[in-house]
Amino acid sequence: MKKFVVILLLAVMGYYISITFFDIGFGDSHLVEGVVPVKDAYLNETVNSLNVANTVTSIVVNFRGFDTLGEVTVLFLAVTALGGILYKKRHQAGERSVLFSASKVVTSGSKLLFPAIVLLGAYVFIHGHLSPGGGFQGGVIIATGFLLMLLAYENFTVGHNTLSVIESLAGITFAGVGIWGLIYGGSFLENFLPVGTLNDLFSGGVIPIIYIAVGFKVAAELTGVIYTVLHEKG
């Protein structure tokens, strides 16, 4: 009976949702040209004046750059909180506990795979303004490379001070680019570099610089998280 009621409710909801969407043709824009000026402004501005091939990146990093700065700060706060929670435990435990060490196949394989993963991550965040991907995604890929090394080698260490320095420098770069834009362009995160030509690696003004900084920051933070969690005594 309960399942029947749930299915009936879902059917009614599905019916009303589908008749709402029947008016909009598949693949059509339901925003009529000129009615929503923000959409047209974004699309035209991206290609005409910023020369960024990836519209999403131009919105995330340039038009809504302040929001991205907030997201990076949220990530930083989450990582700091995790480190604070696990700090006491890690201090008592010292070394990480390993049930058995990884085999020769895994260690030699991950040694060969690690540079390729880091290269892919760097590619993803350097080409963030040209192709899908960006700083967050590239940083996560690099962090998975470090996770592989930490799983394969039980005495693989990541310098905590190095991570902190990279993270801080990346954050300072992001905020510094924003303030530089405030000085030279008139508003925070305003573009002040030449935009170049469309689909070039060196195009889009400050967007590649910000995304590279975000990539380094995310990679350092997530590597720190993985390292902290692995060294916690379960």
Partner: protein, 120 residues
């Protein structure tokens, strides 16, 4: 329909069949080692031929596809080896060694050698 499209489509169909068999094997096989075999060997071959088929359909992507195939051929066996080894080290032995033939749809969590020691 050119010859390249026919070759590419054939490879994609072969890859899809192998991926389906891999998914079926994960449901059907009795213990962790058999499931690992179905889940990694079939998906290695299936994924590789699927990607090769895409390379035949779009010849300009062929180089990228070959690089992806090399990475699949490189990383998939390593991960399946690590999984199987971890299971063996944690004393999940193959079902064929255990005495519990009735319960064929569960992981064998009993060490058969330990059982014999207890009996003797």
């Amino acid at each position: 329909m050119s010859i390249m499209e026919i070759i590419g489509g054939t490879f994609i169909i072969i890859g899809s069949i192998f991926l389906f068999l891999g998914a079926l094997g994960i449901f059907r096989m009795p213990d962790i080692y058999n499931r690992l075999q179905a889940g990694t060997k079939a998906t290695t071959l299936g994924g590789m031929s699927l990607i090769l088929g895409v390379g035949f359909l779009e010849p300009s992507w062929m180089m990228k596809m070959i690089i992806i195939i090399i990475f699949i051929a490189y990383s998939n066996p390593i991960s399946s080896h690590a999984l199987a080894r971890a299971m063996y080290k944690r004393k999940r032995y193959p079902l064929i060694l255990s005495e519990d033939k009735e319960n064929m749809d569960a992981y064998s969590e009993v060490n058969p050698h330990e059982k014999e020691e207890v009996k003797s």
